[in-house]
Symmetry: C2
Subunit: 138 residues, 2 copies
């Protein structure tokens, strides 16, 4: 992956740099689907709750691949089908996603399962270790 040159960035602020990747939100939902829902293929991702348009999905997958957050590989069982998988850089977004979930669930009525929220809140380190382990084994 070629890093975006510093000159083309809005600023050197780490938050601003992250937002340039996750700008309109769709990209972070794709990361969520790969990380927590175990989705892998284009059609699975296109079927997610928020009903992302397929042209936007294609564009965001390409951007996430260019940013080194996911990789695209042929399915071992069906070479015509592509599988999308998070890289280490992508998996390392888990702590930020966990904090976003906890904040949102504290202040809004969400569909997040209460037992998952309890696990995230009470034992965040264990929750994150489980995510990383599931990913390593998947």
């Amino acid at each position: 992956m070629k890093a975006k040159s510093r000159a083309s960035r809005r600023s050197g602020c780490p938050i601003s740099i992250a937002l340039e990747i996750f700008g309109d939100g769709w990209s972070l939902l794709i990361v969520r689907d790969l990380m927590f829902k175990g989705l892998r293929t284009f059609s699975e991702l296109a079927g997610s709750d928020e009903k992302i348009a397929t042209n936007i999905l294609s564009d965001r997958l390409a951007r996430l691949e260019a940013a080194g957050i996911l990789t695209r590989r042929s399915d071992p069982d069906d070479a015509r089908r592509m599988n999308y998988r998070l890289t280490q850089k992508g998996i390392d977004l888990a702590p930020a996603l966990l904090e976003i979930v906890l904040w949102s669930a504290r202040y809004a009525q969400t569909d997040a399962p209460p037992n998952i929220l309890r696990a995230m809140r009470s034992h965040p380190e264990q929750f994150l270790a489980d995510v990383r382990k599931a990913w390593a084994n998947g």
Copy 2:
């Protein structure tokens, strides 16, 4: 604050709900400026590094106020000037912002001061306690 009705949301996912607030990224940069840089006024916010356009700044400040993330009050020393301050809901975004900073600084070359990054990485709880304390005293 009137909560957004569930029906008008993209989905009930907590991450999606948060992204509907911080959609295009500008809102989260405003939260950052209030939280970490101690900015308070419209002109201070408009002067921040990313050079947000004033019409977008006005719009995002109004949205953040409607979402209960900040309040707008007259300056005690100059009633014509408005001060913007985070609410508890806004301050509670600090853990998510901290994780975004750490992720970004791990994978990109940023302007984040190394001593601040070290404090965030080694003692996140202390860092967050200091942010909350500074806010309570400010």
